[in-house]
Symmetry: C2
Subunit: 376 residues, 2 copies
């Protein structure tokens, strides 16, 4: 199980600095969780992920269930030993990937009936086996199976999905309650699309099930930024203050700063790793595209302030060359840099909350980092 | 410049254990040089290459000249700082890559007139600028520009190419002789195809130019293994005993063992790195293909005897999963393992030579390692 305590609170915002104790170690919040989809944070080793400052990683149940498969995972008594990561792991339920990746997916009251995007094989994921699979994976934090909707979605669609999500949450909770020698914690996921009253309905129903932690799902699915922030602003206070609050699949550095200010504790997103593989690097002064011709002869590091392995040892010109040459090392060094940036940002926010200077932190963050400032 | 001393000789073969002092450090021979084509040993960092036991790496002049280009290399005062490798570097002359990769190549007395395989741009490489480019790259050991021939080639073709190679070697030597504050060493390359008398002619002519080291070129170009060994067996003794003897572009673990026995000191080959990226792993008991279905549930390391980072931390099942999932980490871990295997093999040979037990070493090597034994 987990324990969550709040160490410090910002008096200038709803930001809080906490400490989440899990079976595999303590996580200092607010925290960003690098995404290790298929049992590897793409392009880097677990040691490197830890060196970047990661305290917890996320695994995708959908991917791991299909490949390597649960029979292989069982041989290693879970994902930790299989991938050689001994820190905390959170797994998603697979719902979002079934929705976005599976070839054909049919949603019924029972669960998701879908075809693998890898080999077309048929599978059924129910709330009960979503809990079972994640428990077999050995994750410290597991998520309820939830029903996702596209954006935009009308109110009826959103309401139906949230009500199914609530019923599934109840079934997940029942399944989780009876796990023998249970180690993991189960989080509920608030849905309700972009409708505040549906978000409220969802939160209230989940709260009655009393989960160890809560997440906001269905954000950053294509909606305007303002709308996402409105929903988060309205929904986060609906969740119990003393429980960790996790916003799924978000977001840009600016998103993280805003959402921490609104009281969110946990995040995951493919952005730092995926963008790295596309040559986009985050820096204190903005985001740069290392493929840009201006970096061909640039002997300086990506970010002079950065202490990551890429910035300590290599120049922009070298990273530019590696990327242009499609060398495998490019993806790795870029990933190291971006993960370091994200995790360093979270750590800076935690310090600012602890010193109760979050407003000043935010002002400095925006003053130095302009979204397209890096390349200019 | 370089200095070469022979520490020990095998009394059971022509194998010798030497010590090659270069501006960037001492190399213990016999040595294998990992290939860092475009300023990176593919998939791994310089620190990792060193951790695998590498003492010297090879850079490809053709690739580096085209990309990043010499203007960029000059900004870093050479390849060492550009790629963050501070050990010895040997560069080839570019001749072989022009022959095998360039879109169109015309060989004249002057040099190679060719079109870049990257962007079609026209370039002229002469013996003089081959020396100049490699000197700008800052390599510790540079190679004469040589003319390559296909296999099979008739005697006339082989004779013409070797004679051109000899004339070019003279021009390279003249250009190298006048480099101000020269640090690097220039090696001559023996050609002559599969014709022993042409190899002899080539060696004799090069020896009269008195190079600090000599290489055998034009081997492992498609000829039968026996023929390659015959040519090496005949040619190596033609080279001065007190100079390092380098066999270019060779080979399998078995090749290295045989050629060390024949008196070769230095090797380079893409085999450990390229095969790694194809899922083929070298082990003490043979070569295995990690994509093989039998490894899906194999919880043991690739090679129980191996101390590389991949074998210490990951299972065959995990490497199988990574490779099947085309995860970037697969290429890196496989590369680390294969480089470690090759470099460990060289070190074992050096120890066997020093203890004068090379024959026993060879017997054990063949007894445990069968070419296809790993997968059986």
């Amino acid at each position: 199980m987990i324990q969550f305590q709040i160490d410090n609170r910002s008096t200038e915002s709803r930001a809080r600095a906490g400490r989440l104790t899990t079976p595999h170690g303590v996580i200092e919040t607010p925290i960003f969780m690098p995404v290790g989809t298929a049992g590897t944070v793409k392009a880097v080793t677990p040691e490197e992920v830890r060196d970047c400052g990661a305290q917890i990683i996320l695994g995708n149940t959908y991917h791991l269930y299909l490949r390597p498969g649960m029979d292989v995972i069982r041989l290693f008594s879970g994902l930790h030993r299989f991938m050689n990561w001994n820190g905390p792991i959170l797994t998603d339920s697979g719902g979002f990937q079934i929705f976005s990746l599976a070839k054909i997916s049919k949603t019924t009251e029972t669960g998701f009936d879908f075809q693998s995007h890898i080999d077309g094989s048929r599978h059924l994921i129910t709330p009960e086996n979503a809990v079972d699979i994640q428990t077999t994976l050995g994750a410290d934090i597991i998520m309820c199976l939830d029903a996702c909707i596209p954006y935009p979605a009308d109110e009826n669609q959103a309401k139906e999905a949230l009500e199914l999500t609530t019923r599934w949450a109840g079934r997940c909770k029942t399944a989780w309650d009876v796990i023998p020698n249970r180690q993991n914690a189960l989080f509920g996921i608030v849905q309700g699309g972009m409708f505040p009253h549906l978000r409220q309905e969802s939160a209230e129903e989940l709260l009655s099930l009393d989960f160890p932690g809560y997440a906001l799902g269905g954000l950053s699915v294509g909606e305007p930024k303002d709308l996402m922030m409105e929903i988060a602003d309205q929904s986060l206070p609906l969740l119990p203050d003393e429980r960790p609050k996790y916003i799924m699949g978000v977001g840009t550095p600016e998103d993280l700063v805003e959402l921490v200010a609104l009281g969110a504790d946990m995040f995951d997103c493919v952005m730092p790793t995926r963008n790295a593989r596309n040559g986009q690097l985050f820096t204190g002064s903005g985001t740069i595209n290392i493929t840009n011709a201006k970096y061909r002869e640039d002997t300086g590091p990506v970010d002079p302030e950065c202490t990551c392995a890429a910035c300590r040892n290599y120049s922009r010109a070298y990273l530019h060359h590696l990327y242009r040459s499609r060398e495998l090392l490019a993806y790795r060094l870029n990933t190291l840099h971006n993960l370091h940036y994200y995790l360093d940002l979270m750590q800076s926010m935690r310090k600012a909350i602890s010193a109760d200077v979050f407003a000043r932190f935010k002002a400095t963050f925006y003053a130095t980092r302009t979204p397209s400032g890096g390349d200019e």
